[in-house]
Symmetry: C2
Subunit: 364 residues, 2 copies
């Protein structure tokens, strides 16, 4: 076991590589271009595991992240977040070095950057297939045409295709049928756009995101590209949704036990909202929880049910429901491993990872 003295986010490299391989294989089997989302890990080191498996196109969610990965020789990057027109300087810096794609859903955004972007950039038009966060309704051809007209008249701008993120698949907890219905909704929105525009733009790409539908669905006809992110780590939210098995979760927070309250069935660990962030999920009986306790084993952890879970989090404290017997048995100074509810936000709250070898790896 790795020696830890404070809350530390452990990464099981084997499980991670297995998850990446699963992405690569599934994309290949379905003739899909894989463009994994790197916001989940934001780490050069973990990025190299994808590269080893032949991945050379990536997705990020900010220009800062694009800059960070460009510095590590990634040469084809899509920023899958609405174009922030205030970051012209970063765009020019990155677009000079790499093939950079940006995302828009309004003529206004393009008008604001026209004449200021000095390098060739690609543009995806974002489509909203039901999530209602960002993107145009697939039927809003009027706005799509206005955007295309603006892109066409600018020599440095190239229309790349239509991109969507079916984030409402996250609400389909445990319901495989619902995830598949979100996936059908996505295809119903995107395929007609492909059919309409493919003759005008023969290289156009239909790009789809989200880990749940990519994990669960089996028919990707009409989709060209996928951008799973969370899948590299997975987490309890994904397990709850039905995207993964618990033993595919590739990260766990190691937390020191600092206090014991067997009469309350609880222990308290060093590890709170500052480390986990505050997303929660639910136990089968409806109890809210912020993470589940796994069992340390020689080469990592066993994700099997322990009955122990994070009942609540304050800034630095994690209150663990342990049951009387387990609370008595644990000692102050023991390290327990906690599977997080939301890998992306937990990883963002920490500033580095620890591999099971003990090596610390950095992230943005």
């Amino acid at each position: 076991m790795v020696e830890l003295i404070e809350p530390s986010l452990l990464v099981d490299e084997k499980k991670c590589r297995r998850n990446i391989k699963k992405m690569v294989d599934k994309a290949a089997a379905n003739n899909l271009q894989l463009r994994p989302h790197f916001k989940t890990h934001q780490s050069h080191h973990i990025g190299s595991w994808y590269r080893n498996m032949g991945v050379d196109k990536i997705t990020v969610s900010s220009l800062k992240m694009a800059e960070y990965f460009a510095a590590d020789n990634w040469r084809d990057i899509t920023v899958s977040f609405p174009l922030n027109v205030l970051e012209i300087e970063r765009i020019n810096k990155v677009a000079g070095k790499v093939s950079l794609n940006l995302l828009v859903d309004s003529p206004e955004a393009i008008e604001k950057v026209a004449g200021k972007i000095k390098s060739k950039v690609g543009f995806f038009i974002e489509i909203d297939c039901g999530y209602r966060r960002t993107g145009l309704d697939p039927g809003n051809l009027d706005t799509i045409e206005k955007i295309l007209a603006l892109l066409d008249k600018n020599r440095d701008f190239e229309f790349k295709g239509f991109l969507t993120h079916a984030g409402h698949s996250y609400k389909a907890a445990g319901d495989r049928e619902k995830i598949l219905s979100v996936h059908r909704e996505t295809k119903d929105g995107m395929i007609p756009l492909k059919e309409r525009y493919i003759s005008r733009y023969p290289d156009l790409v239909i790009s789809d995101g989200d880990t749940p539908t990519f994990s669960v669905a089996g028919d990707f006809t009409g989709i060209d590209e996928v951008r799973p992110g969370n899948m590299v780590f997975y987490d309890l939210a994904q397990n709850f949704i039905g995207s993964c098995d618990k033993d595919e979760i590739a990260i766990a927070m190691g937390c020191p036990v600092v206090a014991k309250y067997p009469h309350r069935d609880e222990i308290v660990v060093y590890g709170g909202g500052e480390h986990f962030s505050k997303d929660y999920s639910f136990l089968p009986d409806g109890t809210k929880h912020y993470g589940k306790v796994a069992t340390p084993v020689t080469d990592g952890w066993d994700a099997g049910e322990t009955g122990m879970y994070v009942k609540s989090l304050s800034h630095d404290h994690g209150i663990i429901h342990a049951g009387k017997e387990k609370a008595e048995k644990l000692s102050i100074g023991d390290i327990i491993y906690i599977l997080p509810v939301h890998a992306c936000l937990t990883a963002a709250s920490m500033r580095s990872y620890i591999l099971l070898s003990g090596e610390r790896i950095e992230r943005l």
Copy 2:
């Protein structure tokens, strides 16, 4: 107005200094030793504003934070978090330089460090006056005596007093009477301990925490020391509880507008769970929200009601309820200011602050 290009946590120095002065004045008026909690800001620069007002004793929540502030010449530090027995090396490093107080609620924790701590350290015994997170029941004299016996027999250990954090005051949303009842409960737990032990330990300190009771209560008889933390910034959760006015909130997140959906009454900003963390509060009608929009003015912001609030957060996106008219009026590239729900976790999610002068200040 400060020029921003990405989500940035703005600190209004004037409001901060006013909040610090409020702490200092209230502590002085009530004959209380002020030992403010620095976990909220975790910044040398902001620490200097307290120092300018005569503060020389501080509270932190980790040994890492103790190390960070010791490096900035703070010489009297209490770590108000259950002793993490795995951090002996840090304890010895810090205790060699500063007057360091640790916190315990079990003989087990002391037994684990006895003989390993090589410098003089103070110990507070943590008492639980009703929050049920950490600490001993005030009536648990048996355990208290065991801890005292262990401290007394170790030359390097000094018993400092009893410490409590009435965190359940946070649940007393909007109910002044409930906050005062939490405060009474605290005194009912702590004062008998003082009376019982003061002859044996004439210098013992009764230390009380939490911003809500310190902000609202008026009678601190029997309490010697207070440790307000959040009060330096305040936030919407504190405003909801009734600890502060909205215009006392001293931080706001500046977020670029990246997309507009007037037909949905919404805009989307760059600023999500990675920046705000995920604590929420409620509007008067019970609607959940993750922040409220303030109005930028020449020298900061006006916290008056705008009707605009953060409806939901994903990793990088903030979805703002703006109403049709305001959504239409805002332009892509505008910066809006958002008052956060939970200052401590929002500040921890960001890695630096921007003063209204534009100066960037660092934090741990």
